[in-house]
Symmetry: C2
Subunit: 141 residues, 2 copies
C-alpha cells in the first residue's frame, strides 16, 4: 500500500501521522508474516533512540480500530498484527510455525447473522473466525 494512502486513512480516522506511527506501518507493511508488539519494537529501536513499548502497543490497537491493521489472536493467546492489503471484511489462515497469513475468502457472516439475529433474536457485535495450522511450505519440512 502506498504511503500516501496511509496518510489519507490516518487523517480520516483522526490519527496524527507521527513518525513512530508511520514507522510501525512501514514495518508491518514490509513484513510477510504477523508480528508481535515486542518484535516491532525491537526493529524500531534501531531507528529511534527513544521508543517505548507502550507506544507500540497503543499504536497497534489504534491502527486496528482504524481498520488499517488486522489483529491476530494466536493459539498461544498472544497478540500479533498483520497489515493486509485486502480491505474487505475477511478472515485469515495463519501458519503457527512460520507466521504466514493467507486470506480466507469464505465469510460466515450471512449465516451467522441469519442464525443469531433471526433465530435467537440477538445482536452480533463481533465475530472471530480464524484458522490455525501449517502452511504448505511448513508442511514439507
Amino acid at each position: 500500500m502506498a504511503q500516501s494512502s496511509y496518510l489519507n486513512e490516518l487523517k480520516s480516522k483522526k490519527l496524527k501521522a507521527t513518525p513512530k506511527r508511520l514507522a510501525i506501518l512501514r514495518v508491518l507493511s514490509a513484513a510477510s508474516v504477523y508480528l508481535g508488539p515486542q518484535e516491532i519494537w525491537e526493529q524500531l529501536k534501531k531507528d529511534f533512540k527513544k521508543l517505548g513499548l507502550p507506544t507500540v502497543y497503543r499504536n497497534l490497537e489504534e491502527l486496528v480500530d482504524a481498520g488499517l491493521v488486522s489483529r491476530i489472536i494466536h493459539p498461544n493467546r498472544r497478540l500479533y498484527y498483520f497489515l493486509c492489503e485486502n480491505r474487505l471484511q475477511h478472515h485469515h489462515f495463519i501458519c503457527v510455525q512460520c507466521g504466514k497469513v493467507q486470506d480466507i475468502s469464505f465469510c460466515a457472516e450471512a449465516q451467522l447473522l441469519q442464525e443469531v439475529d433471526q433465530i435467537y433474536g440477538g445482536k452480533i457485535l463481533s465475530h472471530t473466525l480464524q484458522v490455525n495450522g501449517l502452511c504448505r511450505c511448513c508442511l514439507k519440512h
Copy 2:
C-alpha cells in the same frame, strides 16, 4: 448431563474422578452462563476448605482437552468455560453482557477445509469461530 456420564468420560480420558474435579463439573453444569476460573474457585471455596486456584485452572484445561468442557475466549481476552451438552463439533454465540451461551449450528469447517487444504495446500490444526454480542434478553434492557 448425568453424573455417571461424567465418570465414564473421565475414565476414558484417564482423568481421575477426584472430588474437586467433579465439583468443578458440577458448578459448570449448574451454570447457565460461562464462568471464569476465579468465579468457579470462589464458589467452590465454600465446599472445600483447601482448594488452590491453580487446581481450578489446571482442571479446566484438562477438561477442555478431554472434550468435556468448552473454552470461550471472550473479547476481553480472558478465558471462560462452559459445559455444553452438545457433544458435536459446533460453535457459540456468547452474550458479552450476561454470559449466556447459545449454540451456532452453522459450521464453517467444510468450506475452510476446502479453501485451506485444496487452494493453499495447508493443514488446519484448529479453527475458532465465535460470535460475540448481546442476547435477545440483554437487548431489551
